[in-house]
Amino acid sequence: MLDPVILFFVLGISAGLLRSELRLPTAVYELVTIVLLLAIGLKGGVELAKQPLGQLLPQMVGVVVLGFFLTLIAFPILRKLGRLQRADAASIAAHYGSVSVGTYAVAVAYLGSRQVSFEEHMPLLLVLMEVPAILVGIILARGVTRSTNWGSVMHEVFLGKGIVLLIGGLLIGWAAGPEGVTPLEPLFVDLFKGVLALFLLEMGLITATQLTGLRRYGLFLVGFGVAMPLFSAVVGTGAAYLLGLSLGGTVVLATLAASASYIAVPAAMRISVPEANPTLSLAAALGITFPFNVLIGIPVYHVMATLVHG
């Protein structure tokens, strides 16, 4: 049976497709996003306080490599099979090489309601996976020779809202430790699922608007939006196996690999690769891959992980 938070996503998509008047104010969407990002960061930070960071180094390097790899795989597929322009292929590849915090949150909720535990430091890996794809995407689009203002790229990447809140949450959780964070739990832990429900309601409404955009860009993007996450999940599952993650951790890493960014990467690409058409990448990431992962992908990756951990 579907998790109730997923039903909110379905409600949002349905309302959007039926052209309902339902709309969440931007400020509500931002509040909900801020709470989710801080909650995820805090949780991971508390866990980091418990273990030596050095021990996590292999995993940290591993996911960075994974991010580079997935971007570099996606690019030629988009360029050759999809016949997309260089800038568009590079931008979409960056979206798919990076990760989606919303999808991560759904995976966490999914495992939580099935009482499957996972490595709690996953938010750290999430942060690390957000960035490499952006750098690769910019280089793929513009080449290394052409002058890129890397200073402003780095500013855009590391000081975007998402990363600042995730890293901020991680650091606060890490500094405050489990007890320090306790008084914050009513907001950031107890309300997590409720807030996620509101978030997914709005995501459904946004996805619905992207779906209409999709019609114009044909079948290739739809196919890519389903096949790429499946492929990435297989690679992610393999990486998780090599890195020695638990069953739950494997599901999470596969989900991260399969997810496509729709916050950090679009913002960075808009500034650094303006000639890429944002409609294409958002239609694929939000119109296809996000709902695919949320509705179908995560349970599939769960099965995959179970087979590997058989």
Binding site: T26, R270, P274, E275
Partner: protein, 100 residues
């Protein structure tokens, strides 16, 4: 009332450009600007402000004709091809000309 002619340049564009634009407006000689949040539709489709990537801003700059021309030229050169943006100019009278 002795009033003075100036130009009002209005720019409707993607919210993602706000900080860049603001810097450029100042460096091209305007003394101020006003921004409101907006949504809309144009060549680049519906931009309905539900979330960041789809939000518009509406920027207004009151300035003299040369600054307006310089700004307009700058916008055309740097943004007109790749960004959702429309700039337009109108005539306004200001009361304290030294401010603009």
């Amino acid at each position: 009332m002795n009033s003075h002619k100036r130009k009002l340049l209005t720019i409707v564009t993607e919210a993602a450009l706000e900080s860049t634009l603001v810097r450029e407006i100042e460096s091209l000689g305007a003394h101020g600007y006003t921004i409101t949040d907006a949504r809309g539709k144009g060549e680049h489709g519906v931009r309905n402000a539900g979330w960041e990537a789809s939000a518009n801003i509406r920027v207004e700059v009151v300035c003299d004709a040369e600054t307006a021309a310089a700004l307009a030229a700058h916008l055309r050169e740097h943004y007109s091809r790749n960004y959702a943006m429309i700039p337009y100019l109108s005539d306004v009278e200001v009361l304290r000309p030294e401010k603009f």
